[in-house]
Symmetry: C2
């Protein structure tokens, strides 16, 4: 459902932090589960939209990070959304395999309650 | 489901950025919709856990921001989760009223596709 006439999107109209980055939340299209949060710069936003393959910006390596490039656990972009302040992205994705480098389907596998923390999602079986 | 014996949680074990903040994603417990992203410091994490009412840190005002304090659109914490890097929080919440200050149920009401952006969620009717 579109509520207004679409306007052209320019990644440079997003609000980036002082390192030129914007947080991007990945959510599973099929289950609604929040999978991970990582960062993008304007170029990785453009690359993600152009390729349909989610491409973050690796802060530690200072380079494009096409999700799944080494693990095979790609994220195909279904829809990109931007929030009211234009300083956060929501990526609706089709996730291949587990999203987390620990082999769990989501990075948010630790729950906090009653002053304690506990793992609530197990790693996927290998294969 | 708990996969290991719970260990005591200390907010100071989270990884905060150079401003002492950690991003917190709010997701609706009832619908699974991602509602918003805001920031917390260690004190607001502790306050949120103690009170059960989601309390962010307002970067613009430099003070606690108990969500809904002025709007009445509170977020009751159902569960807090932390990601694998301990540098992002996921808050499963029961949202009262719309989460967005624009009176929409989610801040992520703008979708980007085919090089254009368009609003896909309308403001809630008043009342």
């Amino acid at each position: 459902m579109t509520l207004q006439h679409p306007t052209r999107f320019d990644p440079d109209t997003l609000t980036f932090n002082d390192r030129g980055l914007i947080p991007a939340i990945a959510q599973s299209h099929s289950t609604g589960e929040v999978l991970m949060m990582a960062w993008m710069n304007a170029a990785s936003v453009a690359e993600t939209l152009a390729s349909g393959q989610v491409t973050y910006w690796s802060r530690s390596r200072g380079q494009f990070w096409r999700k799944g490039e080494t693990s095979g656990h790609f994220q195909r972009l279904v829809e990109m959304r931007v929030d009211c302040d234009r300083d956060c992205l929501l990526l609706i994705v089709e996730q291949t395999g587990p999203a987390c480098h620990t082999n769990r389907r989501s990075c948010f596998y630790t729950a906090i309650s009653d002053g304690a923390e506990a793992e609530i999602i197990a790693p996927e079986p290998p294969g």
